[in-house]
């Protein structure tokens, strides 16, 4: 079967656990670089955060492009240029140094028109907004951790928050390393990344819980093996969702910025695209490995792992769980479906698959 066919049929048999170590190493390095860059180079904050200089220039007959050309000579082509009324331009640039601002004023007066006002302006995105947003984020992390603990389990909350933190650190680090300008739109893009990453991780975890709950009761597979099965089963979903989420963004980046040359769209398009890729990656590789690490230490899973070791399933590639076994219906008594703790009270019922025969009719769900 070709790789695509296998993918399409959900027959992917990737050995995720083998990649975890490498993924975690790469992520740690990326995070270190990000934090270091953040510490050393900081962020390139735009005029909305830092304020800058504002000029109002009366220039009949000039165009926005003309104004931008003047600013470009001062390495400030990203200045925000608006028209006020008919022939008045408002040019705002993050240049704060009075001497340089003065030079720009002189250049504007020489090449564009009469400079009517020239002044320092404060930020529109004040520290008040940032402070409140930061506090809201803290509360958000706490509440979401509680939520995941209630709906799934606390180990998954740890994994999910670690994955989200990774995504944010790496995205912000990316902006710091390349010194891309941070605008309010970029901040929103970072928040979007956070939401997307969390969403994606929960979808993966729900699959994991489904698989470990169902097949874990048979006590024939280690947590790592079950996790691998769940990840394989969710791979196609992750790829499809990443593609459908990324397509509008890629189109925005390619058509918006490259072909039609609109720089303003680039700044958050990059952040979004990065976030979608990193968000999907962190769910499959980071969030899952962290939970596996935590779960394998549990008594129940250690006992199972010990049993498997005595049977000779030790080192080497992760044992893959075949479809026939994976398709077994839930054999646990109904009262165990939600809280999957402890060893199954009842031995799982062996459902016999007669070779080539019609598989047993699944039990109908009562409502």
């Amino acid at each position: 079967m070709s790789a695509f066919r296998r993918l399409y049929n959900g027959e992917t048999t990737l050995d995720y656990p083998r990649w975890w170590r490498r993924a975690v190493t790469i992520s740690l390095v990326a995070m270190l670089v990000s934090v270091a860059s953040f510490g050393v180079r900081g962020l390139n904050l735009g005029i909305d955060f830092e304020g800058g200089t504002s000029y109002e220039v009366r220039a009949p007959g000039a165009s926005v492009a003309d104004a931008r050309a003047v600013m470009a000579a001062f390495d400030a082509a990203d200045a925000r240029i608006q028209t006020l009324g008919d022939d008045l331009f408002r040019i705002r640039s993050e240049v704060a140094d009075p001497a340089r601002a003065g030079e720009i004023r002189d250049a504007l007066a020489a090449d564009l028109g009469t400079v009517e006002t020239f002044e320092q302006v404060g930020p529109t995105w004040g520290s008040e907004v940032t402070d409140k947003a930061a506090r809201a984020l803290l509360v958000f992390f706490v509440v979401v951790a509680l939520y995941i603990t209630v709906r799934l389990e606390w180990k998954m909350a740890v994994g999910a928050l670690a994955a989200v933190a990774h995504d944010i650190v790496v995205s912000v680090g990316f902006y710091s390393v390349l010194q891309l300008e941070i605008t309010p739109a970029t901040v929103i893009a970072f928040l979007t990344i956070m939401g997307y990453s969390l969403y994606d991780t929960i979808v993966v975890y729900d699959k994991v819980r489904d698989v470990t709950g169902r097949l874990g009761a048979t006590e024939r597979y280690s947590y790592t093996e079950l996790m691998n099965l769940a990840l394989n089963r969710v791979t196609m979903r992750s790829i499809n969702t990443s593609i459908t989420s990324a397509l509008p963004v890629v189109s925005l980046l390619l058509i918006g910025s490259v072909i039609m040359g609109a720089g303003a769209l680039q700044e958050f398009g990059v952040a979004l695209l990065l976030g979608i890729v990193v968000g999907s990656y962190s769910s499959l590789f980071l969030a899952s490995s962290l939970v596996t690490l935590l779960k394998e230490r549990e008594e129940r899973w250690q006992a199972i792992a010990g049993k498997l070791r005595t049977r000779g399933h030790t080192e080497g590639p992760t044992r893959l769980i075949g479809r026939e076994e994976a398709a077994q219906p839930d054999t646990r008594s109904p009262d165990r479906i939600d809280g999957s703790r402890g060893v199954a009270r009842r031995r799982p019922v062996q459902t016999t698959h007669l070779g080539g025969a019609v598989p047993p009719r699944p039990r109908k769900k009562r409502r």
């Binding site: 049929n9 240029i81 002044e119 409140k132 928040l191 509008p248 189109s251 390619l254 080539g356």
Partner: protein
């Protein structure tokens, strides 16, 4: 096919249609933000030298004033000698000035009498008479202050030294009020506090002649009840109304003749929100520095027409690519996914347009970002279900039984994941200001609509399709594997 499912299906399609028609009929249009459309810019200058700190404070107050809901996303920034305010979508410069409200002043006025609210728009009555000396003179002589629409004094006649009739918060009463005895300048702080299990507003006044002394002068009159501040039937003391922008915030009784400047409490049947609103009005009513509007100008979009066009073209092409991919991959189920997207999209559009027209909700680049990502998440709800379906069929179930079995499982996953987004959106909405708040609103709306479209449209629609014989015979056309594929794969 239970009848309920069919009802859901028809109901949601009708709702989406109705929303679209209503939006067109009411001519609701989304209000584009400053970055996308431009608006009006007002330059305010301080009348006296002001410190940066004072101006920053003024920026915060004005932001609150022009953006009560927190979603209009104005641009408010400090300039060298004042504040610059840009409002999206406003093309009338006078309206911009009204919104910025440089003249807003907090006034303390004694209450002469209370009237019920006029229900109909009765013609204005009363005249601008020379200022009478006391309440009893006004009431006794029947010389009511000039009133306009709805029987309240219009802003142009609302002078500090005149008697006025003004409405209250919530619009249940009108107040006949005496001349202003104290302004917001006298106030140094106001906070909502929970005292003795009741929400109260604690006020601190400035010391000196313009602060606590002036307040105590009127308090002494109101406590005993005089011609200037009479005691109305059913009350034991006179009342002083606190008026902001021509609206009575609250009109408490004066329960003592002397107050200490930092121990004034307004108690009453406030709930938490009301107490906060009153405290906010008290605090923010008074700007730390007087600002006058120097000029107003129409401003163009900040990101420019070219960017906007590029964005629209890119958006359309992006959507087209998503459609192509989804239909290519999931065939007919992909079409269901697209229809589901169209349903949630039309509802979202209707809501954005309605809020934009009614509440000044601005759609900025940030909002558009939220929506773009929401498209991805909406499609994902479908992908989750379809992948579950495929998985179940490969596990050996028939297509039809998989459809019934997979939906509750998939929907539970979708709800779990969407709840996280909703929690995030809710918290950001409650706890932040500015652009972040706008983003939270869009994220929350899109997420809820995704749940609605999934539960009421996509689920029932797939079940409906599963009823057809065609579904069982040609699973490939639905992007599904043939039933019982398990044997083939294993051997």
């Amino acid at each position: 096919m239970p009848r309920r499912q069919l009802v859901f299906l028809i109901g949601i399609v009708l709702a989406a249609l109705a929303a679209t028609v209503m939006t067109a009929v009411w001519e609701n249009e989304p209000l584009l933000g400053l970055d996308l459309q431009g608006g009006v810019s007002v330059r305010l200058t301080a009348t006296e030298p002001a410190t940066e700190e004072m101006l920053d404070q003024a920026v915060g107050i004005i932001r609150n004033r022009v953006d009560a809901l927190g979603v209009a996303e104005p641009e408010v920034s400090r300039t060298a000698d004042g504040v610059m305010v840009s409002l999206p979508g406003v093309d009338d410069q006078q309206r911009a000035l009204d919104l910025v409200g440089t003249t807003a002043e907090l006034r303390f006025r004694p209450v002469c009498d209370v009237f019920p609210v006029m229900t109909a728009n009765q013609p204005g009555q009363g005249t601008a008479a020379p200022a009478p000396a006391s309440c009893s003179q006004v009431l006794g002589g029947g010389v009511l202050p000039p009133t306009g629409r709805a029987g309240v004094t219009p802003p142009e006649h609302d002078h500090a030294d005149q008697f006025v009739i003004l409405g209250g918060r919530g619009g249940t009463q009108r107040y006949l009020l005496g001349p202003s005895v104290l302004t917001g300048d006298a106030l140094s702080d106001a906070n909502a506090d929970l005292i003795d299990f009741q929400w109260q507003v604690a006020i601190t006044l400035k010391s000196g002649a313009d602060g606590i002394d002036a307040f105590n002068r009127i308090a002494a009159l109101c406590f005993v009840g005089t011609r200037e501040c009479p005691i109305m039937a059913g009350f034991s003391n006179g009342r002083v109304a606190i008026v902001l922008d021509g609206q009575v915030l609250t009109a408490p009784q004066i329960r003592a003749s002397q107050f200490e400047r930092d121990r004034i409490l307004i108690s009453g049947s406030f709930d938490k929100e009301e107490a906060h609103d009153v405290a906010l009005g008290l605090r923010y009513g008074a700007l730390p520095v007087e600002l006058v509007a120097e000029n107003t100008q129409v401003v163009s979009a900040t990101i420019g027409e070219d960017s906007l066009d590029a964005g629209v073209v890119a958006g359309i092409i992006g959507l087209f690519l998503v459609a192509l991919f989804i239909v290519g991959y999931y065939r007919l189920l992909g079409l269901v996914a697209l229809a589901s997207l169209a349903i949630s999209g039309s509802l979202l559009w209707a809501i954005i347009a309605h809020l934009g027209t009614q509440s000044g909700l601005a759609l900025t680049l940030a909002g558009v970002t939220g929506i773009i990502v929401a498209i991805g998440v909406s499609v994902d709800s479908n992908v989750i279900y379809f992948e579950h379906l495929k998985e179940d069929i490969r596990d050996g179930r028939t297509a039809r039984s998989s459809v019934d079995r997979a939906f509750p499982v998939a929907f539970s996953t979708i709800v779990k994941a969407d709840m996280a987004s909703l929690i995030g959106a809710g918290l950001l909405w409650w706890l932040t200001v500015g652009a972040v708040r706008g983003f939270a609103l869009y994220l929350g709306l899109a997420t809820i609509l995704d749940l609605v479209a999934t539960y009421f449209f996509m689920g029932p629609m797939v079940r409906l399709l599963a009823q057809t014989r065609w579904f069982a015979r040609h699973p490939g056309r639905f992007g599904l594997p043939a039933a019982g594929a398990v044997g083939a794969v294993v051997s």
